[in-house]
Symmetry: C2
C-alpha cells in the first residue's frame, strides 16, 4: 500500500486517544462523519482493523495499539524534519540545548567556554523547559541537544554521553526531627510529604517546578525532598541536607538524535565529555 498521509495519522491518533469519534472530531476542528470515513479508508487501505466500534464504545485492537505508538513516532519525525530544516535555514544557525531547571547540575557554564573554543561552534541557545519535557523536545526537533536524567527519562532514539552520576541528599527544614542525623535511609521519611514534581507523576505534597521553589517550600516546613547532590548548591541557610544512603543514584546524560551528522552537535559533545572527564569541581572556600 502507499503510505498514509500525515493528516490521516493525526486523525487516527486523535480518535485512538479520545476513543470517541465526536470528541476527536471536535479536537481536530472538523465534523464527525468525514473523520469516521477517513479512518475507515485508512483501515481499508492498510488492510487492518485498528478500532473496534460498537454504538456505545470505541476501543483499540492490538494492531491499533501498535499503530498508535508508531504513529506518534512518525509524526514526531515529520515535525522534527521541519523544525531542523527551519533551524538550518536561519541566517545565523543556532545550537539549541534544553534542560529542566538546574538539569545540568551546573555543568553547562563549565562546558560553554570549552565549546566556544571549537572552530565548529555556533551560538548556543538554552531552553529551560518543564520537568519531563526534555525528551519530547528533542524528539520533535525543537532542540538539538538535551540534558537528560537516567533512570528517569526515556533514552530511546537518542545517542547519549554520560556526564555525571550523583548520590542523593534529603533536604529538610532545619528544625526537622532528622535534621541532625549524619545520614538516613528512605524509610526514615515515611509519612513526610514529598514534592509533586510538575507533570504526570504521583506523590503527596505540593507541586514543584524548580530548586528555588523547592527550597522555599522545605524551609516553610511544607515538605521534605530527596534530590541529587548537585541541587545542594541551591540550599538556603534555613534548610539542611542529609545524605540518603539507599536512594538509587541518578545520572545526567547529554543526548542528541541518533545518526546526527552536525559538526556543531559533535563539537558540543566533545566539549561536554572533556568537562565530564575532568570530574566534578571541588568546591572550596576562597582564601582572602
Amino acid at each position: 500500500m502507499d503510505a498514509p498521509e500525515t493528516r490521516e495519522l493525526a486523525y487516527f491518533v486523535a480518535v485512538a486517544e479520545e476513543l470517541h469519534f465526536g470528541r476527536a472530531a471536535r479536537r481536530l476542528g472538523m465534523a464527525q462523519p468525514p473523520l469516521s470515513r477517513a479512518i475507515q479508508q485508512l483501515e481499508r487501505r492498510m488492510g487492518v482493523v485498528l478500532l473496534e466500534r460498537t454504538s456505545r464504545a470505541v476501543s483499540l485492537t492490538p494492531a491499533g495499539r501498535v499503530f498508535l505508538a508508531e504513529s506518534h513516532k512518525a509524526l514526531d519525525a515529520v515535525a522534527a524534519a521541519v523544525r531542523r530544516a527551519q533551524r538550518a535555514g536561519r541566517d545565523v544557525p543556532r545550537l539549541m540545548v534544553v534542560m529542566k531547571p538546574d538539569g545540568d547540575a551546573g555543568l553547562l557554564e563549565r562546558i560553554m567556554p570549552v565549546y566556544r573554543r571549537d572552530p565548529d561552534a555556533l551560538e548556543v541557545e538554552v531552553v529551560v523547559c518543564g520537568i519531563g519535557e526534555q525528551a519530547q523536545m528533542l524528539r520533535d526537533g525543537r532542540v538539538d541537544l538535551a540534558f537528560l536524567h537516567a533512570p528517569h527519562d526515556d533514552l530511546g532514539g537518542f545517542d547519549t554521553e554520560l556526564l555525571l552520576t550523583q548520590d542523593h541528599v534529603a533536604v529538610l527544614p532545619s528544625h526537622h526531627r532528622l535534621a541532625d542525623r549524619a545520614a538516613l535511609v528512605l524509610a526514615d521519611l515515611d509519612g513526610d510529604p514529598l514534592p509533586r514534581w510538575a507533570g504526570p507523576e504521583e506523590a503527596s505534597g505540593p507541586e514543584v517546578r524548580d530548586p528555588g521553589q523547592l527550597m522555599q517550600l522545605v524551609a516553610l516546613g511544607q515538605m521534605v525532598a530527596v534530590v541529587p547532590e548537585s541541587v545542594r548548591r541551591h540550599a538556603r541557610s534555613d534548610v539542611v541536607c542529609v545524605p540518603v544512603l539507599d536512594a538509587p543514584r541518578s545520572s545526567i546524560l547529554l543526548a542528541w538524535p541518533e545518526r546526527t551528522r552536525s559538526r556543531a552537535v559533535a563539537a558540543f559533545v566533545r566539549a561536554s565529555t572533556e568537562i565530564a572527564a575532568a570530574g566534578p569541581v571541588i568546591e572550596t572556600v576562597a582564601a582572602p
Copy 2:
C-alpha cells in the same frame, strides 16, 4: 506551520535526490509542473528555501540537505508504522528476523530452541536479505529484529545486544602462494583480487552474494577473501583458511527498534543473550 503531508516529503526527496524536476517527476509518475508547484508551496509553508534553482541546475541549500536526511527518517517511520500495525493485525502474529546470508554465524539455530521455550514466543519467520539491506528493513518496519554487523552497519535508531566478536581468516585456493602460512597480514594480500560484495561497495574482484558462492570462486582461483571466522564452516576441501592478524575484529549484534515494547522481541533478545553468554560452540571432530 502544519505538518507537511508524506506525499510532499516523497516529492521533495525525489527532487533532492535527482536534482532535476523533470526526472524526479518521471520517477514519481507525474508531470513536472505540479511537482514544481508542490515544492514551492512546501518551501513557502515552511518558510525555508530548500532548493537553489537556476534554469540550468538545481542544488540543495544547507536547510535542504538537513530536510532530505530528516525526510528519509520520517518516511521510514511512516512506513514502519504501517508495516508493524499490519503485522500485529495478522491472525497469527509472527516475529520477523532478518540477516544477510550466514549473517548469524550459525547462532540462530542455537537461539531458536531456547526462544521457543519462552511463553511469549511467536512463530519466527527468517528473511535472508541482500548484503547491507538489513538495517533498512529494520528501519522501515518490514522486520522486528536483525542480525547486524559492527563496524559495518549503521546502528543509529536501534537498541542492540552484542552476541559475538570474531577474528578474520583469509580464504585462499589451496595452491595459493600463502596457503601454507600459519598466519598473515592484510598487506600480504596486496594485489590479489578481493570480492566485490553485492551492493554499493568498492573492490576489485567478482560480485559475491553468499558464502557458498565465495568458496566456489576462491576454489576456482578467481579471488581470495578475508572473512569472519564463522564463515570457515562453509570452507570446502579445496580451499584453506589462514588467520589474518591485523584485520579489525567484527561483531555480530542483534538489533531492534528502540522503545520497542513487544514481549515477543524481548523474549527473543533474552534467548539470544543467553546463547551469547554460553559462548561459541567448540567444534570437535566426532569420534567414530
